[in-house]
């Protein structure tokens, strides 16, 4: 037998058992929808399988791909929503200071109910803990546009959150 060189399929497939719960867990934890999480998990692994073979495969890298897939999903969803309603108000884009200790459980519930682009921005910035420039790259927006989006997202979040408390 000749020595078999490193085969990328061995690498990805050998990573599969370890990476699958991480990728699926990441997506499920952020989108909360089994069907969507399964679709995006499939897309993540398949795009990696079909893609460049010279990138060292790690779970972290797969999570990065999954994050892009999630952002793509919300971007698509946002386009659907815009067919029905204008979600981006023209109010001045300044933050009201908000001094509150968020209930984590309720906060994630609220996040799930926001317009998709707002949910995407807050998830990348806060749930994943990315910097604004990092989030901007994934959202395919400028840093300034991302800052503005975050302002609107926080405003919608606060509105829904406070509405939930009052209810």
């Amino acid at each position: 037998m000749t020595a078999v060189p490193d085969r990328p399929d061995v690498t990805l497939l050998s990573l599969y058992d370890r990476a699958l719960p991480q990728v699926y867990g990441y997506l499920m934890g952020r989108c909360g929808d089994q069907a969507v999480a399964e679709d995006l998990t499939s897309e993540t692994f398949l795009v990696v399988a079909a893609g460049r073979q010279d990138v060292p495969l790690t779970v972290g890298w797969l999570i990065g791909v999954a994050r892009h897939k999630l952002a793509d999903h919300w971007r698509w969803q946002a386009r659907q929503e815009r067919l029905f309603q204008a979600i981006e108000g023209s109010a001045a884009e300044v933050d009201d200071p908000w001094d509150v200790e968020l209930n984590r459980w309720l906060a994630h519930e609220v996040l799930n109910r926001l317009a998709s682009q707002h949910r995407a921005a807050l998830t990348l910035r806060y749930v994943d803990g990315l910097s604004v420039p990092e989030a901007a790259t994934i959202l395919e927006r400028s840093v300034a546009a991302t800052e503005a989006l975050l302002v609107r997202a926080r405003r919608e979040f606060r509105h829904v959150y406070e509405g939930s408390i009052d209810a």
Partner: protein, 298 residues
Amino acid sequence: MPESRADPFDALRAPITPLAPDPAFAAALRVRLLRAVPPSIPEEHLVSTEMAIRQRNGFRHGDVSYITLGLPDLARGRAFYGAVLGWRFSPGSSEHGVQVDDIVPMMGLSEGEAVPGAVLGFRVDDITAAVAAVRAHGGTISDPHREPYAMAAEGYDNQGIPFYLHEMPPVPADPAASGREFHNGDVHGDVSYLTMVVPDLDAAHEFYRGVFAWTFNIGRAGGAQVSGVAPQIGMTTRPEAGPATAGVILCYRVDDIAAAVQRVQGMGGQASEVAQRPYGLESLCADDQGTPFYLHQF
């Protein structure tokens, strides 16, 4: 009093909580990955440029590696298919068989077979595992043995349809075919499609999914399109052509179906009127020894 105003949104921060998905989903995705990953292979397996361009033995586990077409009379078969499809032939391993040159997948004509008609060979990654899978899914099969071309085994599926297995190292898909889900031949004379006539679709599904990981898109009554195999395969319980016994009907790609139909008739075969199908032009034919086949022009 200095106010330490932490960002309340920091409460959203959530580390990744690993979560195992539905096992059926995980298993299905693994199969898709096995098929999707372009395997890299040692250079020495690429014996010629031509092989690198046109893989004649399939390229992944479960693809058709070889087709034997058993005919009552070999000489008549050579004359008929040579004239109709332009096939050229090389000597086979005995005087009762010939190899068809160049076409995809690799194919041979043979006379005096116990089973007339087409018998498919499938490539497998690991013949020991594949033989075990055949037996586990109700098939019967010989133990693997070494042949000049590959480790091989012959058997019958769970409904008595004969086939054989060839263990072959994985190879890259044809560059021209990369990313293509279905393979219907690239040039005149190639096999464009295979119709498998099976007594029971559910039983076929069980066997071929289990052994080769094919996926079935069960469609119109009594039929299914199979994904994950080259060339493309359709399964039916009710063939349009030939005796309704289990087996395989071959389809061939031609450049000019009207001219090909004339050649079929000129050589003593039969051909139906050319029909427009969603996928192309089609004629249902029989050779001069009664073997049914289809012609396709895409």
